[in-house]
Every structure is written in C-alpha cells, then in structure tokens.
C-alpha cells in the first residue's frame, strides 16, 4: 500500500498517494483546473501559469508542479486566481497570431477553449510588438508555424523525451524565444522522423500536417485518372471522433461508404495489404530462422521507425524485414495485378492512402518504393485530412449506411485489423508463422502478452516445442532501450516489432487530436485499440493466410510468398542516413 496523504481542495477532502501533484489531487476530487503547457507524464513544467492555485504560500503556485502535502489547504477558484489566469492568457494572446477563423485547429484549439472558459473579453488587450516568423513547410509531413506557437514546449518534450529524437527546442531568450531547429535549419534538414507526435500534442495551430487534400481533389476531378483509395487499419478506430462519435467507435462501414461518395473509383483496404505483409513477413521470418539468417528480425511497417533506424541505429538495418509496409504493398499490387485484371494502364491509376500517420507522406516519396518508374502510392492523406474532405463534401458522416470495400483487394482478416495497435503485427505474424512452422492449427489465436500499452513488452512463445523469444516496442525512445538490450546480449530475441508512435498507429501523428485535459482521464491508445481488437474478435477469419483474396493473389499472380515476383514488388531496402543533411 502506498503512503497516502490527505489534503483539502476547495473545501473537499481528498486522499492521494504521496508524490501526487495538486493538479492530480484536484482531478481526483473532481475539480477541474485549467492547463495549457501541461501534458500528463510528458511535460510538467509549470510554464504557462494557467493552473495556478492558492496554497497559502506567498504567491500563487502552479498546480502541475506543486507537490500535494499532508494537511494542505488549497483554493483553486478565487477572484484573485481567476483574474491572474485571465491576465496570463491575455499576455499569451498578445503575441499569438489570432487568425482563428481559418485556423486548422479552430474548434479544437486548447487556447481558444481557454479564452472561452476563462472569459477573455478582448483578445487584443495587450496588443504590442510581434515577430513575424517564416512558416517552415519544407518537410513532406510536418508544417511549423511559430506565429501561432505559445511556447508550451509540449512538442519539444515529446520529441526529445518520448521519441528520443529532439530536433526542435527553445532558442534565444525572452521576447525572442522560439521553438526552432538549431542553426535555423528546416525540419527537413534535421533527422526528424516525421512521426507527427509533435502535432498531436500541440495545443494550438503551430504544428500541423502538410495538407495534401488538394492533390486528392485534383485527382478526383481528373476524368483520365482512375483513383484507388485505401484506408489503414487504425483510421477506422479514430475517424469517428472527428464527427463527434465517442473514442473507440469503429466506423469501418461508414468510412467505406464515405470514400465511395467522395468519388474514388475503387475502395480497397490497407487491411488486405496487412494480410499480404504477414504472408511475406512470416515467410521471411521462417526463412531467417531455418536458414540461419540475421536475427532478431525487426518489423518494417512503421515509416517513422524505419527512418529512425536508418539515422540512429544503422547497424540494425540488416535485422529489419525487407517487407514494404502494407499500403505500399497494396499500392504495388494495384499498379500491377489490379491494373492487369481491370485492363487499365498503370500510368492512369493513382493510389491514395489514408493513414493515421504523417511519416507515410515521407515514405510514399521514397524513390525506391515504386515499379517501372511509377510510385506505389501517389498521395498520402491522414485521418484528419480525410475528415476534412468528408466535411467539405457536406457528407453527413454519422448518418451514412455501412458499406463494403471493393473485392479483389478488399477482404481482410482479424490479423490485419490489429496492425493498428502496438503488438498487433507481432500477434498477426505469430498466428501465421505458428501454422507455417508446425503445420498444425493454432486454436487460441490471441497472444495477450504482446497486447497493451506498455512501452516494451516481451513474450516467450511455444512454436511446436521451440521457445521463441519476441519483444514489442512502441515509441522510438522505447525502441532504443529495446535495441540496447538486444545488442548487449542481455536478451536473445528472435522477432521484434517496433512502432514509432507510443501505442502504435492508433495514436499516430495523423490521428484526430485529443486535448491534454481529456488525456488526463482517458488513454487514447487503449480506447482506440479496443475498437480494433473488437473487430478482430468479430471476424470469421483471424489468420492472414486464410484470406481468400490473398490465396487468390498468390495463385493468380505472385505464386508464393518470397517468390521472385514478390521480392520485386513487395520488398525493399534501407540506407544509412546522416543526422543533418547540411
């Protein structure tokens, strides 16, 4: 039993474990204290002063960094506190570019919400000098607009502490303080892995995805283009949030209908690509095990992780599976197999991927991911961008009937849909590898040891009498820890799954943005993953190799996993990258 302490907040007595902050204690007592720079477990620095409380000390204290102590009496709501918070907010507003009407975060902005909540009457109360910053939009994934930045440092904390990347930080001092890459470099000149965790943790419109919706609209209106779309597993677990549905609502059927109504010629499913990935990846794993190949093998689905490995752990590149990621595989199949079946010139086909991910935009532009001079995937949009398109098209999303994906590459198994949660690729691969190696039917398909949101998970799996050691990491900071354990020989793994974003794709940088206040009570990663595991359970088929369209594609086209043609179309290679490109 932890040491408990008792304190009184606004007259309410509350018991909390020693070491809790006043902010946490208040939350437990059901008292809401406003926050802006605070990000649970990640950024607790008392910088914005929104959360000040009166603890009887000489001056007001920031509750997010104020330790709760025995017998403490705290007030969170006095005229002095309300006035103070409002003033602080008005000072933040004095340098904020208040173009709220056209702001990408309008109606989902923590600063805007605070103004409403704290009763700001004049956003220009402290109008004064401003610095005009140039917008950095040279990255294929992430746009940084310092004119909107409130210097909360949430992006800096997540980039350095969680992702172990640290390509941005505060520079200069006082009025000139700004969040920048060093030496006035652009994000694209740094070893940014494009994961977009900075975006989903930004309270305002200072960080957002490079918008590619215009490219998609242009493709859709071009009569000479046959436009194929594919949504990733994790998109269906979160898209509903953009339309007011509760977190964790699965909207697969509505999403398929919406994509058809937007005018795409074919709606395939990246889940099919995920099943195809498992066929190739399980085969590669079995081959590596039986032929003495490089082990542990590491998954290759997450483009943020791939760039991270290329930059920070190039010595592990031979361990990374040569498999392209699911949407790239599906893209390659659309421009070969499907083009042939449908009798369309691949040059006239455009593939659009809807991804929970900003790094996929960078991935799709990799020159090695293509065939015959055609990129496998032409445009990547995020979950948020798809939501914007649906809204722009005046589609009443919540009222849509459920639709289906188009056949040929629309069928999928439960193994595919769980790709979107950390541990999912591992579990899917184990389901198929088990049956491939043992030749027996796997009765219990659920591997619970690799599920859940722990940053590093380990499991020992019995495959036909052989114990196989596997591990799963999510968040690139955790990946580094896991690789160090593998490198030191402390652990002897056979297979490792890495996802760049904490919790996997459900919490990807392209997903709907959830406020820090909500994240204090709800774990986004858990809620969205529930939707995916629910879909898995509901599927008749839960192993990738049972997918009938997968069987057909090997029969009709690829012959067998790891075949010459499969290698040509579905596999790739990696390159060491320098930390700075100048």
């Amino acid at each position: 039993m932890e040491n408990m302490i008792t304190l009184t907040i606004d007259g309410i007595e509350v018991q909390v474990p020693q070491g809790s902050t006043v902010l946490e204690a208040a939350r437990q007592a059901g008292i809401r204290i406003p926050t802006l720079c605070y990000l649970k477990d990640i950024n607790e620095i008392g910088a914005c002063r929104m959360c000040v409380v009166d603890s009887g000390a000489r001056s007001l204290q920031a509750a997010c960094v104020l330790p709760a102590s025995q017998g403490m009496k705290v007030k969170t709501n006095t005229p002095q506190i309300r006035e103070f918070r409002k003033h602080m907010l008005e000072l933040i507003l004095s340098t904020h570019e208040k173009k709220c009407l056209s702001c990408i975060r309008s109606k989902n902005c923590e600063l805007q919400a605070l103004c409403k909540e704290l009763g700001v009457e004049d956003e220009d109360r402290y109008a004064g000098e401003k610095i005009k910053y140039t917008i950095d939009d040279l990255s294929p994934s992430i746009v940084r607009d310092n004119n909107k930045c409130v210097l909360c440092r949430r992006c800096v904390a997540v980039c350095s502490k969680i992702q172990n990347v640290g390509v941005i930080g505060p520079v200069n001092r006082g009025f000139k303080t700004a969040i920048e890459s060093p030496w006035e470099m652009h994000l694209s000149e740094m070893s940014c892995i494009n994961c977009g965790q900075c975006i989903v943790n930004c309270p305002v419109g200072a960080l957002y995805e490079k918008d590619d919706t215009k490219k998609v609209w242009d493709l859709l209106k071009d009569p000479n283009k046959h436009v194929v779309v594919q949504p990733a597993p994790a998109v269906r677990a979160a898209l509903g949030e953009e339309f007011g549905l509760p977190m964790g609502t699965s909207v697969t059927g509505k999403m398929a209908t919406a994509l058809k109504r937007l005018g795409f010629d074919k709606v395939f499913d990246t889940d099919f690509g995920a099943d195809l990935t498992i066929m190739e990846e399980a085969n590669e794993l079995v081959e590596r095990i039986t032929n003495g190949g490089v082990l542990p093998m590491i998954t290759s689905c997450s483009p943020g992780w791939i760039k991270y490995c290329e930059t920070y752990h190039p010595d592990f590149l031979p361990n990374v599976s040569s498999c392209k990621s699911p949407h790239e595989m599906l893209g390659a199949m659309v421009k070969t197999y499907y083009a042939e079946k449908a009798g369309i010139d691949p040059k006239d086909i455009a593939v659009v991927s809807v991804m929970p991910c900003t790094a996929k935009k960078f991935e799709a532009a990799r020159p090695e991911l293509g065939h015959n001079g055609l990129a496998d995937v032409d445009v990547v949009i995020t979950t948020r961008e798809l939501a914007r398109m649906i809204k722009e098209a005046n589609i009443e999303f919540t009222a849509l009937p459920d639709g289906d994906f188009d056949s040929l590459m629309g069928e999928s198994t439960g193994a595919a849909v769980i790709f979107g949660a950390t541990g999912g690729v591992m579990e899917a691969a184990l389901r198929t590898a088990y049956e491939t190696i043992t030749g027996k039917v796997l009765e219990n398909v659920e591997f619970h040891d690799v599920r859940g949101i722990k940053g590093i998970k380990e499991a020992e799996v019995d495959i036909g009498g052989t114990k196989v050691c596997v591990a799963v990491a999510s968040g690139t900071g955790n990946a580094t820890k896991l690789l160090e354990m593998a490198k030191s020989g402390e652990k002897n793994y056979t297979f490792i799954e890495v996802m760049a974003c904490p919790g996997g794709c459900v919490n990807g940088g392209g997903q709907p943005i959830v406020s820090a206040q909500t994240k204090m009570d709800v774990d986004v990663r858990v809620e969205r993953a529930k939707a995916l595991y629910g879909e898995d359970r509901a599927k008749a088929l839960r192993k990738s190799h049972e997918n009938s369209e997968i069987k057909q594609i090997y029969e009709d086209y690829l012959t067998k996993p790891g075949s010459h043609l499969a290698h040509e179309l579905l596999h790739t290679h990696y390159q060491k990258r320098e930390k700075y490109s100048r």
Binding site: G166, G169, V171, R173, P182, W183, K579, Y580
Partner: protein
C-alpha cells in the same frame, strides 16, 4: 589547419573530462568558447555527439546565454555601455554612430574581422559617461564625433599600443 586540428583535439579532451557529469553542457560550452573564440555549428555538433545530447539542446543553451557567441568575434571588441548613466548621457547615439561607421548591426562583426560592436550593461565608469570599451580599454566622455578618430587608431594598428 593544424591549428584548427589542435583546437578540436583540445575540445575532445574537454568533452572527455566532463562526459557523464550532470550539467556538463555549460562548462563544455564555456571551454569551447575559450578555445575557439565562439561556438560554431561544427563545434556544437562535436559537443552534441560527444556529450550524447541533441544539437537542439546545445544550440538552445548557446543562444540563451549572452556569454556565448555563435560566430567568430572581431579582433577588437567594441562595447558601448547602455547602463542608465551612460544612456541618459546619450550613449545610444555613440552606438548608432559606430554601427553606421562600421556598417554592422549591434552584435555584428565587420567583414575584415577587425571590429565587433556590442552593447553592454553598466561598466562601472559612470563618472565618465557616456563610455565605450575596446578590448578592455575605456573611452569616456564620448561624443559621436569623437568615435571615427578612435576607430581609425585601431584600424592603423596604433590603438593597441596607445
């Protein structure tokens, strides 16, 4: 070139001496500034790699503290006092005159590498206000008109011995 290599060797030793100490970045940056006269991009990259911190962190600290210079400073460091006494006695016009004369902004260095112009807080010579200091030598009771002659002395190499 050899000189440069020796400086980097010295930096590597400095990093090795401080590595794994908490708060190593400040003393290493200070040492680097002493060795090179500034903490350039290349120097900062070596420090970041050596200490296992990000370049963003090194650059953040280097730009936060006024004691660090990102670019090499001139042979002569011209500091104009903007402390209260000097300021009310018109030191801003001295600073403006210098910037105009040398065609550099405050904090800038002339292309020939001779002069760096900086503004400083009180130098403790308020009785002589307005004051400027060139490489430690104090010039008091200045007027903007007196500035060109002083600068010329340094240009001609005479100032150092005066």
């Amino acid at each position: 070139m050899d000189d440069e290599r020796a400086k980097f060797a010295e930096l590597e030793k400095l990093i090795a001496d401080h590595k794994d100490q908490p708060g190593a970045l400040m003393p290493v940056l200070q040492g680097a500034q002493a060795i090179f006269g500034c903490v350039s991009e290349d120097v900062q990259k070596v420090i970041a790699e050596g200490l296992g911190v990000t370049l963003a962190e090194v650059y953040g600290v280097a730009t936060f503290y006024a004691q660090f210079s990102l670019h090499p400073k001139g042979k002569y460091l011209v500091n104009v006092c903007l402390g209260t006494a000097c300021y009310v006695k018109g030191s801003q016009s001295i600073l403006d005159k210098l910037c105009k004369l040398l065609n550099v902004p405050v904090g800038g260095t002339t292309p020939d590498g001779l002069f760096t112009v900086e503004a400083t807080r009180c130098l403790g010579a308020c009785g002589l206000a307005p004051v400027m200091m060139i490489n430690g030598r104090v010039y008091g009771r200045l007027t903007p008109d007196a500035v060109p002659a002083i600068i010329d002395e340094y240009r001609n190499g005479a100032g150092e011995n005066a």
